[in-house]
Symmetry: D2
Subunit: 331 residues, 4 copies
């Protein structure tokens, strides 16, 4: 029973169907009808004019989005446990040509305005330091915590005040939106660009980069090509994304994942390191207990010495979640 | 009737089947059984120990391969009409951190040893010029011409003599191998790394980078991740490649494409700008003639003022090729 | 008798004096009074508001100036024999993060508007090619040829029409201005940024980058620091430049160099490959003749199989020039 | 009375003399006799074969040295308050093409082996993290603390054990060597490359990069040119360095600076935040006290809310140091 990660979950049947249906098209790159539909579909979803494009991975989505906001001599304020800092093998350094990640702390890997302000306050020595040019936040955060509307507003206000771009890593944006039970627009807040994740949520290999000011997307098409991310059969990426948007499959899948996590969370109770909001749980557990769970067939990730990480996905069998809940309760 | 390009051709049914079959796997990135099979499969294909990895596009394959051979202050000798120079929006500049493409001429976009030697002979002014560190050739070339065994040997000898890495852009390696009717190893010659193309030949979004000295692949896994090209559901890329290798589907598809091109080529006769070797034909044609063909339903690319480009693929209907041949003969 | 290059000529006594006088200052980087004087001094020289800063080398000046105009995915149109293409070991690739030099031909290493237009006309394939973002011209060119006012206007018009930045490599701008016998503003034309050379003309290690739209200089101070070119005792670089500007020493020195070249040029007559306009002469000469000159004590550079390069400097002894002229005439 | 920094101190008379004497030479770049003497002179100084080259600034020296050790996808372990992290405007990101600084803590900005080991222990997730490829330490540290022989040995052992390059930022290496009263070789320990600072210690604009394994210097000459740091009148940089080495002027100057600091340090007593080892003192002081000192004519840098930084140089008048000491004692 798999609680290791959502990043290798199966592809949703409706995504498969959409991909198959796209096979007959024959215009390359992103000139096909499906790819050209993305702008309109995301504009409809977010209720304002957007420019959107596909890319195969979240790392590419994050870094390409940031490359439209940050010059090589600039900096990006992000959490010290953000994916772009911890897990992308220096991809921001590559895509941003050596621009610097300016790290801030914050509970649960969420960036508080105070922490951002502290970073900004420390930039006082002119050309001897890189100027901050963007903020990157993760919705939901690396610990599965969701920014509320108010929190997003506060970060956006700070970004505007200092003339900074604002990027959202939305690898689990769907799970955050499902948790907030609000409109996609509210879940995104006033960010300039969103890496809208689909791979963990039923897709195969397609994420969307959504720009809320279409003009800011002007150069990203060159950057995507230059990074080798302009696939010649891009229609198959567009098809995945469109299938996920159809009838809000993205939300339904995210709710399923979140619900499965709640089943486990209730059993975990006091063991939870962070509130259970989306589909990631961090659960205090010692080595003996871990072994006991594994013996019962549960697969999961050892987060650190004191806790494990459990991740559900759209495909998690609720029965597996109940079994895991029981097993944890019985420890 | 589509003769525009092979880069948007449909995905082969056996590739689809293999992808579907891969859905049940659930280990991420390239830790799945399919991805781990690549080394052995390419080793068997080439008859010596190889290290191989998947990547979504030919641009990424070319640039990542070269990044293992060339330092940021170095240079890559390539043809002035090579894809890496003409069509990748500066991707080598990005991936190689500003390393320089050192351009050479040559008939049919093939690099002759003399042209390479001339570039090398011009590097005489010490630190004021970038040192050549690699050669990149394209098999088949951008004009559909194939390097013979002897030609490959001559280039490889030059590379060895000057201590240069040798890379082959094999976007249409299958078509070249089919034309040569030799072993894959002979079609690749003594290159260090091969970008082995599958996307144009029945795949969806997976190319292989094959290293013939596995040690030289040591750093490319970091580079791939850093470029955002390590897909979390990499099993679907591996599945495509393995399906193409099974029962030499790659060769069968390439032969079908080459055969369709031959049908047209025979009709084109004296109009051919270059010998017809693989699945690309460059055909002299004036504007009136082009219009006549388009009226009959043929789609193709205007190469320049005096010629058009016709490309067949594994999926080209031989009947379409015959129709096109007739139409050209009737001009 | 030295005709090898002007790049290692002695430092002018007035430059020495100015440097010594700067020793007592004690504020670091470019906060000293001398460095802060540069904007005003160049504004006065060019008759409009300028922003100016020092840097140690022409390579750094060229590349930093271009970095304000060109994004990493962009391109710079320059002559195929421009210094930035031929002699800077890929420095533009480094400073511009892989942006591409888009090469054009042209007699005497001068860029004609037609050649620029041809490059622009070839950029038709969207994201598959890098977009041109700047033009770089060299005044005087690598062959010692000077752009006239009319020629500069034509290039500037083209740059404006296509929204391109315009940079001038003025390693020998002083020699060009002396030749044109016009105002500095006229010799620079409507460029956006000028690398104003002093090192070859009596300085030690200080060139100026002059921006004619001060706003465009906004980011270059960060870029200079980041490139390790913000010297902590910058006052000594500012002192050199100011000494060169005082009483138009820069022009006097350039005239002296040009005059010395004219002495030789008159003797060289029909042997001249290019018209003699500044302080560089390219003179047809066979191996026997070269040996003869060297035997008489003349040092110079073998340009190619058919010609040598002779360079005079502010410090060239007119007697040496006469001797060389006589020797050439006697060949 | 200036205690702000040593980075803008006057140029030593013997350095001036050496520069003037170099004026007559006329070979460019680093082909002059003085530049070619560097290898031998540093080899003699350190008692083993070295390769050495000049560069204008410490930032360039640090980053060029590291560029020989670290690939773009790699990382450099350094202290979180190291100059390369704090004060170089992202220069390592530029020169190392996005390689990452892997930060470690440590008292007084010194890297303890434990802190290095902790960083290394955290690199466990394969290609998702950058691999450490070098360690950079600062002798003396940013807080004026000196690594003892034993401490250097421990760091070097760790570097060797993990196959990491070892770089020393020696902006104040002279002051450290003077404090240790040992041989230069002992003060450098087993590092691979040393940025040997002269600018703060009596030079004008020349630092040396010293490689203790000459083979490792192979590519740096290309990198220096490419960064625009190969000055055409390099003889003047070489002259500065040679003058500083003659009769151990570098040591004498450093001793003078350290001695002046000791005068102040004795008066500061308990106010010292760190032991006074070289020419930088961090002294606890409130706002009223700072104002009092400034009223008496002392210039210094506000380090943070609780302390000021006082820096002496080779040119600090001992009388000024005594006056400052008295003034502090009288607070």
């Amino acid at each position: 029973m798999q609680f290791m990660s959502d990043n290798a979950a199966p592809v949703h049947p409706r995504v498969w169907d959409a991909m198959r249906a796209a096979d007959s098209a024959d215009t390359p790159y992103d000139t096909d009808a499906l790819s050209r539909e993305l702008d309109a579909r995301f504009s409809a979803l977010f209720g304002r004019e957007c420019a959107a494009l596909w890319v195969a991975t979240g790392t590419a989505a994050n870094c390409l989005a940031l490359s439209t906001m940050v010059e090589p001599h600039g900096g990006v304020i992000c959490h010290e446990e953000a994916h772009i800092e911890m897990d992308e093998c220096g991809a921001p350094g590559f895509y941003l040509h050596g621009a610097k990640l300016l790290l801030a702390g914050g509970v649960g890997a969420k960036l508080a305005p105070e922490a951002i302000a502290e970073v900004l306050a420390g930039i006082t020595r002119g050309v001897h330091q890189v100027p901050a040019q963007a903020i990157s936040i993760t919705q939901a955060s690396e610990y599965g915590l969701v920014y509320s509307h108010g929190e997003l507003d506060a970060v956006a206000a700070l970004a505007r005040e200092h003339g900074l771009g604002l990027h959202m890593d939305g690898a689990r944006f769907a799970n955050a939106a499902a948790h907030l039970a609000c409109s996609p627009a509210e879940a995104a807040g006033a960010v300039d660009a969103l890496s809208f994740g689909f791979v963990k949520n039923g897709g195969m290999g397609a994420e969307a980069i959504v720009f809320f000011d279409p003009e800011k997307a002007a150069t990203i098409h060159f950057r995507r090509k230059r990074a080798g991310h302009l696939q010649s059969k891009g229609r198959f990426l567009a098809a995945q994304i469109l299938a996920m948007l159809d009838d809000d499959l993205w939300l339904a899948n995210a709710r399923a994942a979140n619900d499965a996590a709640q089943i486990v969370a209730k059993a975990a109770g006091e063991r939870l390191v962070h509130p259970a909001q989306v589909n990631e749980l961090f659960v205090r557990m010692n080595a003996v207990e871990r072994a006991a769970l594994r013996t019962q067939g549960f697969a999961f990730y050892d987060w650190d010495d004191s806790s494990i990480r459990l991740v559900t996905s759209w495909a998690t069998d609720p029965g597996h979640a109940q079994a895991l809940g029981k097993a944890i309760a019985a420890l």
